[in-house]
Structure formats: structure tokens, C-alpha cells
Symmetry: C2
Subunit: 193 residues, 2 copies
């Protein structure tokens, strides 16, 4: 009984090790540098071991992405709860989102540009994902007006996502980032009309 328990514990530990190694390697050198061979070498197991834990490389990326969603949700929550008033909360949460994308580009990539196999806009989506979306919804509640909160949150999310991905891809100059973010929020938080 306890033998199987120990094995299971070891198994879980190794799985965590793989996810951590993948995340570190991706953050250090980008996802194109994360190959199953390098990953196996890093965790000091042979390549096929990875496939006894994950269906393939995509599944490993998805696991890293789930971690990322939890981190992002936590950072947005911290920004929201420590703000002095609702307007400031919106600005802080948006800034936290942008900074997250900036500081953890590989993680952000896994979450939003790759790993399509995760369920997203459904109840089956990972809890961390719902948590992150909830942060957006809560910070928007005071300015929702007559608009549906969910749709409003989706649109704000889109705006932030567009800003950070276009900037990261070199499509937008970094210099005006703050200006763009401020303008988005100003137009967004303004009177509904």
C-alpha cells in the first residue's frame, strides 16, 4: 500500500520537476529552445520518460501555461486589492497585466499564443483561468454601466492582449507603451454614452 503511495509521490515530484525545468528553459531561452531532448537531459531522465507523464510537448506547455494563469491571476488580484479607489484599481490591474506579459514573455506565450489544447471559455477551464478572468470582471464592475460585464471584460482583455503582443512582436514601438495603455483605459473607463 505505502509502496504504491511512495511511487505515486515520486511520480508527482518528477512531473513537477519536468514542468519547472520546461518553464525555466523557456523563460531563459524561449520555447523554440525547449526540445524534448534538452528537457530530458535537464531532469536527468531519458526522453521517453517525458511521454509517460505528458502526451507530448504540447501537453508540457499546457501544464506550464496553467501555472502561468495562476501567477497572472495572483498578480492582478494583488493589484486590485491594494488600490485605493475603483478607477485606480482598473489602472493598476491593467498595468499588472502588461507587466506580467513583459516580465514573463515565455510564460505569456504558452498561455496565449500556443497550447491550443486547453479548454478556455468553458466551465472545464482550469480554475486559475477563471480566477484571472474574475479579476478583470470585478475591477470593471463599477464602470460597466449598461454593458454586460462578461463582454466588457473580454474586450478589455483583448485590448491589453493586443497591446502587449503587438509590442512584443515589434509591431508597436515600446516608447509609447504607457501612453497607449493610458489612452485605452481613458476611452474605456469614460462615460458609456
Amino acid at each position: 500500500m505505502s509502496i504504491q503511495a511512495r511511487r505515486e509521490r515520486e511520480r508527482v515530484g518528477r512531473e513537477r520537476l519536468i514542468i519547472r525545468a520546461a518553464r525555466e528553459l523557456a523563460e531563459a531561452e524561449g520555447w523554440e529552445a525547449v526540445t524534448t531532448r534538452r528537457l530530458a537531459e535537464r531532469v536527468e531522465y531519458s526522453q521517453p520518460v517525458l511521454y509517460s507523464h505528458f502526451k507530448g510537448k504540447d501537453a508540457i506547455m499546457a501544464a506550464v501555461a496553467v501555472e502561468g494563469f495562476a501567477d497572472l491571476a495572483a498578480e492582478m488580484r494583488a493589484a486590485r486589492t491594494s488600490a485605493s479607489d475603483p478607477e485606480q484599481a482598473l489602472a493598476d490591474v491593467a498595468a499588472a497585466y502588461a507587466m506580467f506579459a513583459e516580465r514573463r514573455p515565455a510564460l505569456y506565450d504558452a498561455m496565449f499564443n500556443q497550447a491550443v489544447s486547453l479548454p478556455f471559455a468553458t466551465p472545464e477551464a482550469p480554475a486559475a483561468l477563471h480566477a484571472g478572468f474574475d479579476e478583470l470582471r470585478q475591477v470593471l464592475r463599477p464602470i460597466a454601466g449598461n454593458d454586460n460585464e462578461d463582454v466588457l471584460a473580454e474586450v478589455l482583455w483583448s485590448g491589453l492582449h493586443g497591446l502587449v503582443t503587438l509590442m512584443r512582436g515589434g509591431r508597436l514601438p515600446r516608447e509609447q507603451h504607457e501612453q497607449r495603455l493610458a489612452l485605452l483605459l481613458r476611452r474605456f473607463a469614460g462615460p458609456t454614452g
Copy 2:
């Protein structure tokens, strides 16, 4: 003299052929299906010929992307010039942008998700790129208010880009797309506050 001219003509023709084949293959099966081997087979030349025209696969994708920018700019221009009033023009251009991304996902990918080697927010950027950005700027002019037109255009572009990429990646449900687009424009075009 005319011999070299003919050779140059053939060279240009073959280059166009390669770009067209790459685009067709990408639109039919996605970029991951566009391999140098398949591409070479399709244009009925050997693989190394591709490398006498383009530095690598990325350069081929960049060439396809430039074509895409021209197409997108033309579609936005058509939408803008055939609209009855400024507000309608904004809505039509935004819809045209979203429809382009929806109808030509592979092209959109090459333009905005990959091929980082193109110059973007600089004078050296391809003319088609400037043309597209100009469409956004022009359609926004009537509602710019005190905001900088360039920054405003960048933010609208970000919003649209976010909407279409998140939807295409399965992060946003397709059903509310129209609603989201309308909300973005409403908040965006509303009084500056």
C-alpha cells in the same frame, strides 16, 4: 544584354511563383504544413532553389506577409470610402479588419504572429504597412478629440488584434464576437471625457 534581362524576368517570375505557392499552401493547410520540401515540389524545383531567392523560410513568410498587408489595406480602404458617414466608416473598417483575419487566418498569422524580421514601426517598413495604418488613422480622425492620432490608431489596432487573435486561439467564444466588436467601438468612439 537582353539575355540577362530575360534571365532576370524568369527569376522574378519564379520568385512570385514561390510566394504564391507558399501562400496557397499556408491558406489551405496552415504554416506548419509549409515545409521547404513541399514548397519545392509544388513549384517543381529542387529545395536549394528556394535559398537562391530567399534567405530562409522566414524570408518567404515575410514576403507573403507583405502581400497580406497590401490586401488588408485595400479592404480597409474600400470599407472606409464606401461608408456613408464617419461613424459608419469606423464600424465598417473595424469589421473589415476582423473579417480579413477570419477569412485569411494563415495570411494574418504571417503578418502579425510570425516573421519578426520585417521592419514595422519605422520609415523602412513596407509601403503596404503604412497604407494600412493610414486607413486606421483616417477613419479615427473625426473622433480623435484631444488624443494623438497615431497613438489612438495603435490602440484601436491593438483592440482589434486582441479580439481576433484571442477568438482564433479559442480563448474567446465566437458567439459574442459581434457584441464584443460593437462594445469596443462604442467605448472607443464615445465622448472623450
